[in-house]
């Protein structure tokens, strides 16, 4: 059963790099990017974190979200990761 995870990185990602996080939703919050979405398992999470490293991003925080509704602060327009 997938859990919802939140990955926060420094600065605001554009649409091109957002595509690297398929199936996740991205929002800009206070000069950071919050990447939220369902994560299958720990291997999936490791994969996402290595994408963060591949793209040279600075990781601020990563964690499991118990209440997805409350997860993403702010009403900033969302970017959507590419989904197949």
């Amino acid at each position: 059963m997938a859990a919802i995870y939140e990955i926060v990185v420094e600065s605001e990602l554009g649409v091109t790099f957002a595509a690297a996080f398929e199936g996740m939703e991205l929002r800009h919050v206070d000069g950071r990017t919050v990447i939220v979405g369902p994560v299958q398992d720990q291997a999936h999470l490791s994969g996402l974190l290595s994408r963060v490293a591949d793209l040279g991003l600075t990781l601020v925080r990563v964690g499991k979200v118990d209440d997805p509704e409350a997860a993403v602060g702010g009403e900033a327009p969302g970017l959507t990761g590419r989904s197949r």
Binding site: S11, E12, L13, G14, T16, L55, R82
Partner: protein, 752 residues
């Protein structure tokens, strides 16, 4: 398809790509960073220097510049790691290759031991560490250590780091801290570190980089740029490239600094956007490739002007590196390539698979097997990947890259492997060639059997021959069983009319017959193997068959004939680079007996040791028992009775559980008797030497004068003389030379 491939066996399938063994060329205009070079120099006595930082911090550039400079006073072995090194044998083999390239004497024995087929990693590592001691001063650079994650590789590396001989250091770069005991190394003062905060540009360095590209900035602008980029080198560099294209650089810089967008993405995109359509399209579509060459790009893109485009790109200061390698090869900066791949997916989501498929075809045609398979799998063309592996299996096995063959098969989905019985059969043979444990071979054989049931149409007689050969050559079963496998391979091969397989099977059978005690049948079978084999394609079969003939001749005391056969076999071994192949053990054992018979005792023992090492496999085998017995015989002859006893005991343990033991029990009895005899001859009761006398005795064996020995041991020359007299008396000898010979015979000073 296999037939077309075999010509490839003439060409070596080099294990590491040439480019992996060289530092990349320095990009013109790359910033010299003397402060970091000095830090690296200052870590000269640390066993490990770790350069650890995310991509874009100039790790490889730093190591490239440093090795160029360091080469003037110490040797530098360079290896850029790739995922193919993610297993112990290949990792070790490639490190040994890199060391051998830097110091031709340095990794030779280890590389030789591993090049063809692995003995146990511990043995090779041990050899490598011994070799390294002679290669000092030496720095081993391992770039991109993050490319591997195999636990065993890191265990081995940790051990090596803590046991490096003096004057040898490892310098490694990785995007993340490797799973090495860094805390312990740090605490012991063995670790030097250069991390992101050290690699980040200083303001002065930022000034140098931008002004190199013709941009002049005020101090406050430099500070602001440092702030915005967090002094991340790749971002600073891209900013300068980008500003160079702007009409009003100052204003654009102001906007960039005020913005909040992710600077890596923004800049890479801006730089990409500033390219002409042809160049941009070229880069986006070739982003599926790790390495770029003009012919490869032409094939992938269906064009013929890649050479010009690549050259123009490399002149333009874009983040592209030219690699040191035959032909012109380039590599794009990782970050830039990530962006390009994302662009490719956005432009045309189905394009990547098509491009991967074309890359697979070109790489296969040009003998880059591993790359071809990787791209075929990425293209989703598993059938093509399976065909590439089938076609390369024989050259990989003959040239000794059995581990790679197994790795490649394991990249395929299980159902694809099941649909291709020949892959599981070839993998089974590869486990034998690579001297893997028996249970691995059995797993592959059972996969082969399962796939024969599930895809009977795909089952070929060839696959059956290969599977039987895997068992026949492994020789870790009873003599009768192994001979049975060899005969089955022969029967199947006869239907196939395949002389090549016939030679291998006959040579295996000949050896089994010899071990079984049937000398005449063995010799006849070996002769038939020789008649069937083409030396270029079955060098191992020929070597094995010649070895069996040589053993038969030496048993009959025909030394001239033995010597001629051994010589002939050794020529083939040398010509085909098989010094470390299992097949060579038979020849070495025959050679050991010949040398023993001729009285060259020391050489006989080392030939037997080599032979024993070459046939050592994880499971007990009769071939290994035979080798141990030959070794025990040479040691007895050489007067090293303790060593002979060790070999005999090991042989007894391995032989213990067998029912079908051929000639071995007789040989064992004979070896025991010779050892007893030798012991009796030596049993002149020897009074025990004191510890101090043993120390002096060891020094006597070095050939130093008594005065020098005294100096070494901080004793007066008179004390040394007193000890010497006492030693001579206890050993019952009258001279120093005789004392040393006697001590060797009694194993008093070995293993020091």
């Amino acid at each position: 398809m296999p037939a077309a491939r075999v010509s490839g066996t003439e060409r070596p399938l080099p294990s590491p790509l040439e480019s992996q063994l060289h530092a990349p060329r320095r990009r013109p205009g790359l910033l010299a960073r003397p402060r970091l070079l000095r830090v690296l120099d200052s870590y000269a006595s640390r066993n490990l220097t770790l350069v650890s930082a995310p991509c874009g911090y100039g790790k490889t550039s730093l190591l490239t510049a440093w090795s160029a400079k360091t080469r003037e006073r110490e040797h530098v072995a360079w290896l850029t790691l790739e995922a193919t090194e993610n297993n112990v044998p290949r990792f070790l083999a490639h490190v040994a290759d890199a060391v051998e390239r830097a110091r031709p004497t340095g990794g030779r024995r280890a590389a030789a031991l591993l090049r063809a087929r692995g003995t146990t990693p511990e043995v090779v590592l041990h050899e490598l560490l011994i070799d390294l001691a002679r290669a000092a001063p030496l720095a081993i650079v391992l770039d991109d250590l993050h490319a591997i994650d195999d636990r065993d590789c890191f265990d081995l590396l940790s051990y090596a780091i803590e046991h490096l001989p003096p004057g040898v250091r490892i310098v490694t770069a990785a995007r993340a801290d490797p799973p090495l005991p860094l805390g312990r190394l740090r605490a012991r003062g063995l670790l030097g570190e250069i991390r992101a905060r050290d690699l980040a540009f200083t303001t002065a360095e930022i000034r140098d980089v931008v002004s190199e590209l013709g941009i002049v900035l005020e101090d406050d602008e430099l500070e602001a740029l440092a702030d915005r980029t967090e002094s991340w080198p790749v971002a600073v560099y891209l900013t300068a490239l980008w500003l160079r294209e702007q009409k009003d650089p100052r204003q654009m810089l102001g906007e960039l600094i005020a913005g909040r967008s992710y600077i890596g993405e923004f800049l890479a995109q801006e730089v990409l956007g500033s390219l002409d359509a042809r160049t941009r399209d070229f880069l986006v579509r070739t982003s599926i490739l790790t390495y770029l060459s003009a012919p490869l790009c032409d094939a992938v893109l269906g064009r013929d002007d890649s050479a010009g485009i690549l050259r123009a790109i490399s002149r333009s200061n874009l983040l592209i590196t030219r690699l040191e390698r035959e032909g012109e090869w380039f590599q794009l900066h990782r970050l830039f390539r990530e962006l390009l791949q994302l662009e490719l997916d956005r432009d045309d989501p189905s394009a990547a698979a098509r491009l991967h498929a074309r890359a697979a075809v070109w790489l296969d045609e040009n003998d880059f097997v591993a790359g071809a398979v990787r791209h075929a799998v990425a293209a989703g063309e598993n059938e093509h990947a399976a065909a590439i592996i089938s076609g390369s299996a024989e050259p990989l096995l003959v040239r000794g890259d059995a581990e790679l063959l197994i790795d490649l098969v394991e990249q395929l989905p299980h159902e694809v492997v099941l649909a291709h019985p020949e892959l599981a059969a070839a993998s089974a043979l590869a486990t034998t060639v690579a001297r893997r444990p028996r249970h691995e071979r059995e797993r592959w054989l059972s996969t082969a059997a399962r796939s024969r049931r599930s895809s009977p149409d795909a089952w070929s007689p060839q696959a059956g021959v290969v599977a039987a050969l895997a068992q026949a050559l492994a020789a870790d079963e009873e003599i009768g069983e192994a001979a049975g496998h060899a005969r089955r391979a022969l029967r199947l091969a006869a239907k196939e009319d395949s002389g090549e397989v016939e030679a291998s099977a006959r040579s295996a059978l000949a050896y089994e017959l010899y071990l079984g005690g049937a000398d005449d049948a063995a010799a006849a079978e070996a002769a038939r193997a020789l008649a069937a084999a083409n030396p270029a394609r079955r060098p191992n079969a020929i070597v094995r068959a010649l070895g069996v003939l040589a053993l038969v001749e030496s048993d009959s005391g025909r030394h001239e004939e033995t010597a001629a056969l051994v010589q002939k076999a050794l020529d083939i071994v040398r010509h085909h680079g098989l010094a470390a192949a299992a097949s060579a053990h038979v020849v070495q054992l025959a050679r050991a007996r010949l040398l023993l018979a001729r009285g060259d005792l020391r050489a006989a023992e080392s030939a037997a040791e080599l032979g024993e090492q070459l046939c050592r496999i994880p499971d007990p085998s009769l071939a290994h028992v035979f080798a141990l017995l030959v070794l025990a015989g040479t040691r007895t002859g050489n007067g090293r009775l303790g060593g002979a006893e060790t070999a005999l005991r090991e042989a007894e343990v391995e032989l213990g559980t067998r029912s079908d033991r051929g000639r071995l029990p007789d040989l064992l009895t004979f070896a025991r008797r010779s050892l007893r005899q030798a012991r009796r001859n030596q049993s002149v009761s020897t009074e025990r030497l004191t510890a101090a006398e043993i120390v002096v005795l060891r020094m006597l064996a070095t050939g130093l004068s008594q005065r020098s020995i005294g100096r070494e041991l901080f004793l007066s020359v008179n004390t040394i003389k007193t000890h010497s007299r006492s030693i001579y008396r206890k050993l019952g000898v009258g001279s120093r030379a005789a004392a040393v010979a006697r001590a060797n015979a009694l194993d008093l000073i070995s293993g020091s």
